[in-house]
């Protein structure tokens, strides 16, 4: 039986990169959004520029689920290289859309899926002369056919084309034409619509559709970042590029056209973080964007920033490790290399946005935290959040909001005779005061260094001041708990002794899994960690449950390690649920894993009761 579904299915486009399909496919997704139906899209792309397989997954979800679902209901199989695999991936009862210009033997098809052939190449060859136009418009013709098949509103796509190519009239009309060719061919030759349909709804509301890297960059603009030093590294590159884009528009002095920002594409990651640290020492808000390999290269500098207490913000858009690993796949596997970055005893602040919405919010907050706590702050994104568009509430900014510059001693303070010791714990919270270079002609100068020193920043090799300083740093880290974003709890409908902890990009799938489990009668209280150090609420949550599943996207259960090591939690209480093949975690996976674990536990319990 062919699958029948309105507003709840997955379309997957299988293409070759560099073929112009990306923009067409994205237009398809946007069209569904404009029809008021939520979509979750994911780009699965290779680590090269042209000619290799790439997939674009569009999950149409009237319910508004934004995680990956898994499985494909409609495969748009445009890549001969991956044909077999793509055909095999279709759910039973699903649909296969392909270019029927050349005949395909039945053995290459499946009996249990509906096969929809459109002679795209043939149509293109007929309609266009220029081979590049043939390629480009093939994508649009394909979208046109899909509109018909899925019963979508053509005018919506037309409007999108008009917006996209505004000012380029020849492109607009040509694209319109291609769209209609596809739609008309399908309506004329195929049974439209198929079992899968998009029906206008109002489930999108005023939400925006944006990538996490863009959102984080915008957060950095609003957060007052003025210095960005970076080195290209997938999947973080677009964050720095978006920052550049928005700074030009939002941070150019209106009168002089000069820049209120400095962006340096450095020669590598060591230089990037060095520039950030130099700027932070000198009182500017500075950041870098990078991924795992960059984090590894920055380790020495990160220890310096920890120990010399220099504000710095690092956006770590995580990808599949270790080493070069899976550069175009997602993972959450740099938790430990960030939390305990560098040799010696260190602890660093991590914040975990769940989606582009929080990427914006945390992208701004990170700079307040760094200045307030005078230390590196890691915004832990990943490829799934960073490089995929996601539907989130519109960004907001309170115009009355002030940037928190932290404890800075001014010229007037010094003039008034205030005692200044760079590493003195004046307030008992472990956070010392600092001066910006050049503040006062005779007071407040100090020497920053990575070696030990006393509270007045004077070099010393003595054990006493060293220990004192190291303990103060622990105090400061304790203080950090009251500044970083606290956890978010989603209680089960009924009281339960089972909890689940997750973070970052797992959230979308977890929200859905929660409902799947609930509907299956399985109660799990869910807590989303939003920062390290963990607040006491996290510890209390764990204490309040017999068993807590820790859901993460890495092999070694890194957040779990951090939880047990930093909060003296019994490892037996924390059960790892791990997904780390580089694809985004799904609600299906989580629900199945948690369901199985809970079942197991119940059986064990029963056996114990029986014996």
């Amino acid at each position: 039986m062919p699958i029948e579904s309105v507003n709840d299915f997955v379309v997957r486009f299988a293409n070759v990169n560099g073929s112009g399909s990306a923009s067409a496919n994205q237009m398809f997704a946007r069209a569904i959004l404009r029809m008021g139906v939520p979509v979750a899209t994911r780009n699965i792309f290779p680590s090269n520029i042209q000619g290799l397989p790439t997939w674009y997954e569009v999950r149409v979800s009237g319910h508004g689920w934004l995680g990956a679902r898994g499985g494909t209901d409609l495969m748009v199989a445009m890549n001969p290289q991956t044909w077999d695999k793509d055909v095999a991936a279709i759910e039973p009862g699903g649909y296969l859309f392909y270019d029927s210009s050349r005949p395909i033997s039945a053995s290459k098809l499946r009996e249990d899926v509906t096969v929809i052939g459109v002679p795209l190449t043939e149509i293109c060859n007929r309609e266009y002369k220029d081979p590049r136009q043939r390629q480009l418009f093939k994508n649009i013709i394909c979208i046109g056919a899909l509109l018909a098949l899925l019963d979508m509103e053509v005018s919506v796509v037309e409007a999108l084309l008009d917006e996209q190519f505004r000012g380029k009239e020849n492109l607009i009309s040509a694209n319109h034409k291609a769209l209609h060719i596809g739609k008309d061919w399908a309506r004329a030759n195929l049974a439209c619509p198929i079992g899968l349909r998009v029906a206008r709804s109002d489930a999108v509301g005023d939400r925006i559709f944006v990538e996490g890297n863009t959102a984080a960059a915008l957060g950095a603009v609003y957060g007052g970042a003025t210095v960005c030093a970076w080195y290209p590294l997938t999947p973080s590159t677009s964050l720095a590029e978006a920052f550049t884009f928005y700074c030009k528009r939002l941070r150019t002095d209106p009168a002089t056209k000069k820049h209120r920002f400095a962006i340096v594409q450095a020669e590598d990651e060591l230089a990037s973080i060095g520039i950030v640290i130099g700027a932070g020492w000198n009182g500017a808000r500075a950041f870098t964007a990078t991924s795992g390999p960059g984090i590894s290269l920055m380790q020495e500098f990160l220890g310096l920033a920890y120990f010399a207490e220099i504000p710095a913000v690092i956006f770590n858009v995580q990808r599949g490790g270790p080493s070069t690993g899976m550069p175009t796949r997602t993972q959450q596997s740099d938790i430990l290399s960030c939390a305990w970055a560098s040799h010696g005893d260190t602890k660093h602040i991590l914040i975990f946005p769940r989606d582009p919405g929080e990427a914006f919010e945390f992208g701004a907050i990170a700079f307040d935290l760094a200045d307030r706590l005078q230390t590196p702050v890691f915004v832990m994104l990943d490829l799934d959040i960073g490089m995929n568009h996601s539907l989130v509430a519109p960004f907001t900014w309170d115009d009355a909001r002030k940037l928190d510059r932290g404890k800075v001693v001014t010229h007037d303070d010094l003039e008034a005779g205030r005692d200044f010791g760079r590493y003195l714990d004046v307030d008992g919270d472990g956070i010392p005061y600092r001066t910006y270079p050049g503040t006062h002609p005779t007071r407040g100068a100090y020497f920053a260094r990575g070696t030990t020193r006393d509270a007045y920043a004077r070099y010393t090799e003595e054990g006493g001041p060293y220990i004192e300083n190291m303990h103060r740093l622990l105090r400061k880290f304790e203080t950090a708990k009251s500044y970083v974003p606290g956890p978010v709890v989603q209680p089960a409908v009924r009281a339960t002794r089972t909890g689940a902890i997750h973070y970052g990009s797992t959230a979308a799938a977890m929200d859905e899994a929660f409902v799947l489990l609930r509907d299956a009668g399985i109660d799990v209280d869910v807590l989303r960690v939003r920062a390290f150090p963990f607040s006491n609420d996290v510890v209390d949550f764990i204490a309040g449950h017999d068993r807590v599943l820790v859901v993460e996207q890495n092999r070694d259960a890194q957040l779990r390690t951090l939880l047990i090591a930093e909060n003296a939690i019994d490892p037996h209480k924390l059960v790892p649920v791990l997904h780390f093949d580089g694809s985004p975690i799904t609600a299906r996976f989580i629900a199945q894993a948690i369901g199985a674990l809970i079942l197991e536990a119940l059986q064990a319990q029963e056996e114990r009761n029986l014996s």
Partner: protein
């Protein structure tokens, strides 16, 4: 050593500059380098240069990497902020600092190990980026602080105390700086105050990347095994105990010679350097000629000193980035955070 604050009393007859400051106001804490180390002479030259230029110390930021040379910023300009960063990475830290506040003067001090070995990449890129700074390398051909291994500026064929021979090609940092786009390149000798102080002054006043390669003998670990006379006894002792156990106190080595002249400077170990001071007829704006001159004299066993290459009006990183005049670290919240209305427009574009 724990920092020893010194009483600063101003004697009425002590010379003052236009700011009413004395030499004392340009000093730092007491040096912990070896007696006679060339680096200390460089510190003095920097102090004198700043004094003579009437610079308020707090408007200067001192940055360095790691090494004996990189320690020196503690020993001059106590009224300036300083940052002793990590090994070989001063250039990036300085670049960042300079971006944050274009109004200060940035003085980077490094060693030949710090710059030519581990830091070669950052050296090169900070220069080609056009950072407005003085970048001074106190060049002794060895790693002083880690006890005397060859650095990348050591001559090919040089011999270490322990007998190792250097087989790698030497890096000429001044030549490199010219090639990489430095717009001010000078070389001097730590003991030649008459040349060094004016050179540093000119470098400070230069807009753009100013590089100074300053030969600075290490009295503890010299890289030439010369025919030493006076220190035989000490050398034998150290050889026998297989350690640099005893380091006799030595006087700094000085030099004084005129433009166009060659001076042979004798080092404590008996080896010597042939310094050739650039003459009046030299064209300081000819990049290709400067490089050829450096290389030709080097083939003749001479070290060219003086202002080797100068190009004004090439701008600097601040100009290239088109930065506002206000230092970035002094922009107000209102200049940094766009209005919420701008955000609403962005939201609209994302639907």
């Amino acid at each position: 050593m724990t920092y020893l604050p010194k009483p600063k009393f101003h004697h009425p007859e002590i010379p003052t500059n236009a700011l009413g400051l004395t030499h004392r106001d340009y000093e730092g804490s007491v040096s912990t380098l070896c007696a006679g180390c060339g680096h200390d002479s460089i510190s003095t030259a920097i102090m004198l240069a700043c004094f003579e230029l009437d610079l308020p110390p707090h408007r200067i930021a001192k940055l360095s990497g790691i090494g004996c040379s990189s320690k020196t910023p503690t020993y001059f300009l106590g009224g300036s902020h300083g940052f002793n960063s990590v090994h070989g990475r001063m250039p990036s830290v300085l670049t960042g600092a300079s971006l944050a506040n274009r109004d200060l003067i940035y003085f980077g001090v490094s060693g030949d190990g710090d710059t030519a070995s581990i830091g070669f990449g950052q050296f090169a890129h900070s220069i080609r980026r056009g950072v407005n700074m003085v970048y001074l390398v106190a060049n002794n051909g060895v790693y002083g602080l880690t006890k005397g291994q060859f650095s990348a500026t050591a001559d090919k064929g040089a011999t270490l105390k322990k007998g190792a021979v250097n087989s790698d090609s030497a890096i000429d940092l001044a030549a490199m700086a010219i090639q990489l786009g430095a717009t001010f390149v000078g070389r001097s000798f730590s003991g030649d105050k008459n040349q060094l102080v004016p050179l540093i002054k000119a470098a400070i006043e230069h807009q753009g990347p100013a590089f100074i390669d300053c030969i600075s003998p290490c009295v503890a670990f010299n890289n030439h095994e010369g025919s030493t006379k006076s220190f035989d006894y000490v050398r034998e002792h150290n050889e026998a105990v297989n350690a640099l156990d005893f380091i006799p106190k030595r006087d700094p080595i000085t030099a004084d010679y005129r433009p166009g002249e060659v001076q042979v400077v004798r080092l404590h170990d008996g080896s010597s350097l042939r310094l050739r001071k650039i003459g009046a007829d030299y064209n300081v704006h000819d990049r290709i000629g400067a490089l050829a001159h450096l290389m030709r004299r080097e083939e003749a066993g001479e070290i060219v000193t003086g202002l080797i290459y100068l190009e004004n009006n090439l701008g600097d990183l601040h100009e290239n980035l088109d930065l506002v005049d206000t230092p970035l670290n002094q922009l107000a919240d209102t200049e940094l955070c766009p209005a919420s209305s701008a955000l609403e427009k962005i939201n609209a574009s994302l639907r």
